[in-house]
Symmetry: D2
Subunit: 325 residues, 4 copies
């Protein structure tokens, strides 16, 4: 399906439920997609960092993307991450995703290597040329250890290489400068890159990003509470910033689930993804909270703390849920 222009709204990076052997649990994944679409989201982002894309084999990536596409069934657009070290490897993923029917691609700058901004620009341009799908740049310095400069993104926006930016840099000042460069809150639609979508991946400052002029949100926590992020988005769109901020604050309290796994004992990927999946399991959306190897599992105590935070945020598991199914 064609992307809306610009792409906007709440577009969660979809968690990838796993079975006990570490394989993709496509039944749970279909439940999760329904949970998200029922929550009112405007799109889905498969094979992102929150999807544990870095832990999935090529076969598992294809399985997961196929399951998301099938479950979404055209109800909302599906973006697919094509995440790998450099252009030739990213291209392989991009072609697979295009073949499976993804509606757009999301790619980072090269990583593992030491790459110049001119090379990063060439990377995105080549991807755009080689695969006929809208391309979003994924700015995630905690993973790839370089930051996409606003000037570079602007150049690739203006020449049509990029259809949008998924900004997980946490650098809201930099995002502000990009928005201003592209015409600002009110002028961006008629500016130098009129259809360019700016999406924030920051769960805790979605209200701020929307106030600054972003088009949408890609919140990992949106797996757990899609309706909450949709309420936040709707409040912002209607100009009710106090309500957007109040909703953001509730979600920020809920987000502290990512700290229930102690930093001294497990990686930050494990604690965050483990918490999201534990919450989805507690809410009856997926069959188990298993994360991919070599991530360590949350302790029982941590899972109980996740449950407590769900309750505090007003999210309660259904009676007679299908978790034990």
């Amino acid at each position: 399906m064609a992307l809306p222009t610009p792409l906007h709204g709440v577009i969660p990076p979809v968690c990838t439920p796993l079975d006990p052997r570490g394989q993709v649990d496509t039944v749970s994944l279909a439940h999760l997609v329904d949970h998200l679409i029922d929550g009112g989201v405007h799109g889905l982002f498969a094979l992102g960092s929150t999807s544990e894309v870095a832990y999935l084999t090529d076969a598992q990536r294809a399985t997961a993307l196929e399951a998301v596409l099938k479950a979404a069934d055209g109800r909302v657009p599906v973006l697919a991450g094509a995440i790998d070290t450099t252009t030739p490897r990213v291209l392989d993923h991009a072609r697979t995703a295009a073949g499976l029917g993804a509606d757009a691609l999301v790619a980072t700058a090269p990583f593992y290597t030491r790459t110049h901004p001119r090379e990063i620009a060439a990377h995105f341009r080549h991807l755009r040329t080689a695969v006929d799908l809208p391309l979003l740049a994924y700015d995630i310095p905690t993973a790839v250890h370089s930051k996409l400069a606003p000037a570079l993104v602007r150049e690739l926006a203006e020449d049509g290489t990029l259809a949008g930016l998924k900004d997980s840099s946490g650098d809201e000042g930099s995002l502000r400068r990009l928005i201003v460069a592209l015409g600002g809150r009110t002028g961006r639609r008629t500016g130098p890159a009129p259809g360019f979508a700016i999406l924030t991946g920051s769960e805790l400052t979605a209200d701020a990003a929307l106030l600054a002029g972003a088009d949408g949100i890609v919140p990992g926590l949106g797996n757990v509470d899609p309706a909450g992020y949709v309420r936040l988005y709707d409040a912002a769109r209607s100009g009710d910033w106090e309500r957007a901020a109040a909703e953001q604050e509730r979600l920020a309290a809920l987000f502290s689930m990512v700290d229930t796994g102690p930093e001294s004992e497990m990686g930050r990927s494990s604690s965050a993804l483990g918490a999201f999946k534990a919450a989805l399991h507690l809410l009856g959306v997926i069959k188990r909270g298993t994360t991919a190897f070599p991530q360590l599992p949350l302790s029982g105590e941590s899972v109980r703390e996740v449950g407590r935070l769900l309750t505090e945020a007003g999210l309660t598991p259904p009676q007679g849920d299908h978790r034990s199914g």
Copy 2:
């Protein structure tokens, strides 16, 4: 004078004008203080990073602080940075500032050394005990290369060590989490640290920080356009977030003056502080744009670009100004 509880509003870090020999130009500094207070600011922060505190000798620091205090003359509270590597050295600065009549102290975590969070906590506690002035923590990882964890700030807020936080980390998500932990936008005044002030040093996301629940702004760019930041603050306080965001956007465009000095040719301190001072000179507030050694000066072309940005932002130099004085 006693600080308001909590400290709030626009509190610019005051630039330190220099004469051709690199000494503090106290006449220009007094003009600058008037310019800021005339602009409506609620307080002044002397001897901060934007004040080039790291470039000022002890004697120059005293001269600058004295000049700011004298020019402010009790009209607004004056915070003084006590910036040095570790507690014993910071204490020397803190005692000098207290002796000169500063209303509050601002200190960073230790730098140059490799210091544990427990040691950082001891650092702030000792400073608070040894000098009888309200103490604000200054979180500025680009300078000190460590980040104050929200949990640590919270602990020091709740036990009364800190009267506030000046957050220049650029990590708005972390700031959000701190605000939530202290009771949130509406509950913070009755929360575990009711008088604790949260101030953002981020020039580009002041609207967002206020929306999230911050009490005030410490913008370096506020030297150049104090009235603009006061308008932004007032709009936010009155709940007119659209107007706050529009003002923020205008200021974000103006802020791009910090890039007129090319990154390939000068340090980021030089280009930012050089631009602020060039603008103040063009606006007739200070006598010259000189920055401290070894910072390289902006080129004539860069200064002209600063002038162009001032005009675009609606700031024009007075006719017959005193610059040539």
Copy 3:
């Protein structure tokens, strides 16, 4: 073939020559393998960082490894890099390499993700269990952005998970501490991990690493001058440290070829790998100096500078070489 115990000597990471379309030039790769073995090297490391592994598709990786194995033809052991983000993906590469007949595997810690040392340990243990080949840890913080702690490597050496370490961290102090912990220069063979091989990937301090007690060298520059590194190694083994240092110094001068591509214009991967390949082309070993996309090519001027450095180091292209073949 079985690895020597411990693995030792000069084991260059083999460059991957490319044709104009970016595909593996297996004829040139076979020439290169002959060049290396003729130079006296003790082993080959295929699919390492210098092999541009991060730029090769899975198909290209298999082609390159197969070509190296075929050309080596059992004359020296062939180590294969299994480089990917996390355990499940690394396993896919490891199984392919084992199937093609590699003699050992080389794997990094997970990257892109944020992984705890306990998870890194589990990663290596699982790889070792799942594939029946000796496993070397590849410590390369510039690529994976974490450092393997000596204590962790020691633990994995002592329990038999690791057959060796390829240390490209540049942290010679840390390497020293590991060697000491494992019994030291003289006691390491009878220490807690008697067959454990310590290899340095640092081209510029190979003499120092051997003096400290390392077993071997994995120098990218060894592609260009394998015989030089073998002379260095032999001098060290015979206790002639002055000769080893003199050879190292000549090689250090040659190494400056990695700076002929200016840092302002291309990534550090491009300039280093481009220089090695340009040198191999000038020496008549491979058909062209092409590097993988999106790396930018060296300029003609840079290539001439590489040639000048070759001459200065006493390396001259053969008359009537096969380059134009």
Copy 4:
């Protein structure tokens, strides 16, 4: 006194013993100087990082430097650190040190600020011009968060700005390249900067640095075992590299005292400096192991572990020592 040309040998950074109130214990400091000179060292470096310079007030710095100069009494040259954020502040320290009679100055690049290499060059040039003492650059990225590029050091060596480099970067490859650029192991004395001294601050690779062509060593651990480092140096000078490496290995085992304070409980400064001082106290050289605030003290258990390592390294406290004095 005039410095030897080039400065060479073992030049420990002298610890600063403190009394219970945190003031400089000049009696212990004099004992320590005797201990070092008795151990055969070739010079002393006062007010370096290991001297806790970042924790000493200006008054304490002067006291410590004066005590070292008085105790040394011209027997060996005394270098003085002039450590502060930027040129104007460093100058104040440099002038004090010159006035007290220091034989040379040691300064880092600016820190806290964001400074361009051209500005760093201007910094060193201005220091050299303003104070008539030989100037050494102190390359310590863990403290100042920038690395002095070999090309920059070379430029400042060749134009006579710098008399030497104290390299605490841990980047031995970079050091090698600098040595090669200056003429190499044998040609450096007649090269472009003939009297330029290259000193390594790396305790664990002193043998390697000397093999590469360094002139001397500035080892923090040299406070504890000066004679050991002198033996290492003498062995290297006589070309007995096996003996140098064996001595280095013994010292590397002793160095593990810096890990007796657990990383989870105290800063790396505290554990390293605490261990050196605990060892000096156990050896009867200084009256107590106190470190400066806010560094946390080593536990009794950690101190006992330091004692065990001393014994293992063949260092035993004298009977009837003056520690209880």
